[in-house]
């Protein structure tokens, strides 16, 4: 998969492999920095500038960089053309929780969507929780104290193919590529850790803010949603001075995400991430995005007993610097056309298979937004850790599925085992307080 590996590009790496779209040769980051000083005119014409506002204002290049202390304690917008939690800078902590819907009718499902909208709007913007008669259970778990501070919390709702079965009569409104996640050859999927009608991706600067949001939603929606599976992840501390501004490393010790498309580039996101008119998708799906989630165990004990040169050959990059093999710098772009036999970067290297840098592959890149996970040990006493892989794309078939298909049989498979996850569709954003998440879908049937 392009997937397990690729967290994001470092700020020092302007969009070298992205099609250049900026005026005047300035790199995107500087354009974004200049937003307040007249640079806004450029973005103003691009779709989704509302949702882009937060990352732009903080001057961060995109999803790949973990949000740092400078923008901690902020709010991410809830209302906008797109849902938050996709292209804004990825905070240090993220979890995904999949639910089975318990709604018994379409009006019941609408009620659920409205309820989720209300909760997410509150949780992401924060506020003080009402104290009630102590003879009743309190309204809030209280684990953040009396005032809920959002700390860049985003809660992103996506829908699984199973929601479009015969229960709610939504079959005709199903996004075209949405389906149950198929089993790839190296997968060992556990059905209880796969799929789900609804998935929430919850991200913030602290794990307790995420848990608070999860507890709130589980309590408020318990009659309508049953938890199916959950996975929590985290990233290296973005404020550690020794690694600040570096691409985050995965649990195999490799920089992960160097080649991620810069998510602050609204035009590029428009091309790669968001569903647009003309995508041959149901109308309500416009401004949504396909989401692939994969739970990938890494066999770290075995990996740590593997010679370094083999590790590097498997990835196609130098472990320390992150540079493509045969190159000097992390951000150097490997010239595969000049290396058709793979003498520098092997033909089976993860990096090369995931993104062969052909014109077509470049036009169907996915936006990766993964987290590392660690959760105890297995019965053999080996550490259970790996990657909570999450990616977004406008076309699931050409995006994740095509990339993972290219990766089938890669040498890395010996060290990883995907065991869960699913395909989902992140619904469009909520325009304002008079609207709710998934409204377009509900109205596509009732209209």
């Amino acid at each position: 998969m392009p997937c397990p590996f690729g967290f994001g590009r470092p700020p020092a790496a302007p969009a070298s492999e992205a099609p250049e779209t900026n005026a005047g040769g300035t790199n995107r980051r500087n354009v974004l920095f200049g937003l307040g000083a007249g640079g806004g005119a450029l973005l103003a014409s691009l779709p989704g500038r509302e949702a882009q506002a937060a990352p732009a204002a903080s001057g961060l290049p995109g999803v790949g960089q973990t949000a740092t202390a400078e923008n901690a304690n902020q709010r991410q917008p809830f209302y906008g053309r797109y849902q938050s939690g996709i292209v804004n800078p990825r905070p240090q902590f993220g979890l995904t929780v999949a639910f089975d819907s318990l709604a018994t009718s379409r009006p019941d499902l609408e009620k659920l969507f409205r309820l989720l909208t209300t909760r997410i709007a509150f949780l992401t913007q924060g506020g003080t929780v009402e104290q009630i008669d102590p003879k009743f259970p309190p309204l809030d778990s209280g684990l953040l104290g009396p005032t809920v501070v959002p700390r860049n919390l985003t809660v992103t709702m996506s829908l699984g193919a199973s929601l479009f079965d015969d229960r709610y009569g939504l079959a005709h409104s199903k996004p075209k590529h949405l389906m149950a996640m198929q089993q790839f050859p190296n997968d060992e999927l556990e059905s209880g850790l796969c799929g789900g009608d609804i998935l929430l991706q919850i991200c913030s600067d602290t794990s307790d803010v995420n848990i608070h949001a999860l507890r709130d939603i589980v309590k408020q929606t318990s009659a309508l949603l049953a938890v199916r599976w959950k996975m929590e992840g985290f990233l290296p501390n973005p404020n550690d001075p020794s690694t600040k501004n570096e691409t985050a490393r995965n649990f195999l010790g490799f920089k992960d995400g160097t080649a991620n498309p810069p998510s602050s580039d609204a035009q590029l996101m428009h091309e790669l991430v968001w569903v647009k008119p003309g995508n041959d998708e149901p109308g309500w799906a416009e401004n949504g995005s396909y989401q692939a989630v994969r739970l990938i165990r890494m066999f770290v004990e075995r990996w740590d007993r593997t010679p370094l040169q083999e590790q590097e050959t498997i990835f196609g990059r130098a472990k320390t610097s992150g540079a493509p093999l045969g190159y000097q710098n992390e951000t150097d772009i490997p010239d595969y056309a000049a290396d058709p036999r793979g003498l520098k970067v092997p033909l089976t290297a993860h990096m090369r298979l995931a993104n062969p840098r052909t014109k077509e592959a470049m036009a169907t890149r996915i936006l990766r937004r993964p987290f590392n996970y660690s959760r105890g040990a297995d019965k053999a006493g080996q550490l259970d850790m790996g990657l909570l892989f999450i990616c977004y794309q406008a076309d699931l078939a050409k995006g994740f599925i095509a990339a993972q298909t290219r990766l089938n049989g890669e040498p890395l498979e010996e060290y990883i085992k995907p065991f869960g996850g699913g395909y989902f569709f992140a619904v469009p954003g909520v325009q304002d307080k008079d609207h709710y998440l998934g409204q377009g879908l509900i109205e596509s049937i009732s209209a």
């Binding site: 089975d100 318990l102 003879k135 009743f136 259970p137 318990s222 009659a223 049953a226």
Partner: protein, 373 residues
């Protein structure tokens, strides 16, 4: 709060009397007591909270009581001659009597009229709870008596080596424990002996401390034998008999009764839906139904009070009980028992989750709605 056995039920009820909050927001109602009786002799007040100002113009120490039949609704004691005292109390519509000094003096009349305030949601008074709690005590005793009787029959079958009969009696016997679990669990020593799972013990099934219903279940259904189960069956009979004895003297606090409905449904939500409890016999639906029955009994007894205090809550609770009951009914067998849990379709397992979770949420508000601690 710990619940020590109390000598009488009423003692328990009187205890909670003091804990009910009363809020003053109304005009004072004066009443004077002379050596002859009350002036005025008839008082009329709107339902809700009233403050009476009692002036003792008699020559004796006065105790002023509001009576509903023979039951004291509220009282003010030790009003010295020449002194005034206040009594603030919450009254439901109806006609009450008040005492007026000497026992021979004619009793006064207190008419409490329905008011706008009274038709608003009303939390019950302690007196309102006496009836439901007493009826619940009767229910609990009935269940524990049946539990003891049937456990004896079950134990006899185990000891006689009658495997088929023992298997047949296992689930229907346990039902009587599961119905009153929140009360039975107040005695943790007995609960550990009677209802612990293998997982509660370090060596699981092989642990000598693993006794009770589930140890016998393991022998009957997983090992297909009654071998060595005699002493464990005897101990089970002894334990449920001890439970019966202890329950006789237990005054059930109203808060514990109301909270018990939530406890039973939490039990269902946390364990019954996974088939964890009766993992060898797969008779989980018996326990499931028993927990639901136990919760419904409590809700039923409190219904008149809940309807006054929180009618919407009552309606939601009723709706979800009905849904759960209807799904469970699909798995009833001709002999009045249930199919094994593995027969329950994934769809029905999921369909049970919503109403069970909502019941757990709603029942968690029952104590608050009734103003109970």
């Amino acid at each position: 709060m710990s619940f020590l056995p109390r000598p009488s039920l009423l003692a328990g009820a009187a205890f909670t009397f003091l804990t009910l909050g009363i809020h003053a927001a109304h005009a004072d109602v004066p009443v004077t007591v002379t050596d002859k009786g009350c002036e005025p002799n008839t008082l009329t007040v709107p339902a809700g909270t009233t403050t009476f100002v009692i002036q003792n113009k008699s020559t004796r120490l006065l105790e002023w009581e509001i009576l509903n039949g023979v039951m004291v609704v509220d009282e003010r004691e030790n009003i010295a001659p020449g002194f005034k005292q206040k009594l603030t109390t919450k009254l439901d519509p109806g006609t009450y009597a008040v005492t007026c000094g000497l026992i021979d003096n004619p009793k006064g009349k207190l008419i409490v009229s329905a008011s706008a305030a009274a038709s608003a949601p009303q939390k019950p008074s302690a007196v309102d709870l006496v009836g439901p709690v007493a009826e619940y005590k009767v229910y609990v005793m009935g269940e524990v008596d049946t539990l003891v009787a049937q456990t004896k029959v079950f134990a006899a079958a185990v000891k006689a080596g009658d495997l088929a009969k023992a298997k047949q009696l296992y689930a229907p016997t346990r039902v009587h424990y599961e119905r009153i679990e929140p009360i039975a669990e107040l005695f943790s020593d007995i609960d550990n002996n009677v209802d612990s799972r293998a997982d509660d013990h370090q060596k699981k099934e092989q642990d000598p401390g693993f006794i009770g219903f589930h140890r016998i279940e393991y022998a009957l259904f997983a090992q297909n034998t009654t071998k060595d189960m005699g002493p464990i069956a005897d101990k089970l009979v002894a334990d449920v008999t001890t439970l019966q004895t202890r329950l006789k003297t237990l005054a059930i606090p109203p808060g514990k009764m109301a909270g018990g409905a939530a406890d039973l449904i939490e039990e269902v939500a946390a364990t019954k839906s996974t088939g964890e409890e009766d993992r060898y016999s797969h008779t989980d639906l018996y326990d499931f139904q028993a927990n639901v029955d136990g919760a419904m009994k409590i809700v039923e007894l409190l219904r008149p009070l809940t309807l006054k205090a929180a009618p919407d809550l009552q309606a939601k609770i009723d709706g979800n009980f009905k849904t759960v009951d209807a799904i469970l009914a699909k798995y009833k067998t001709a002999d009045g028992g249930f199919e094994t849990y593995d027969k329950v379709s994934d769809k029905d397992r999921l369909a049970l989750k919503g109403p069970v979770n909502e019941l757990a949420e709603d029942l968690s508000k029952l104590r608050g709605a009734l103003g109970l601690n």
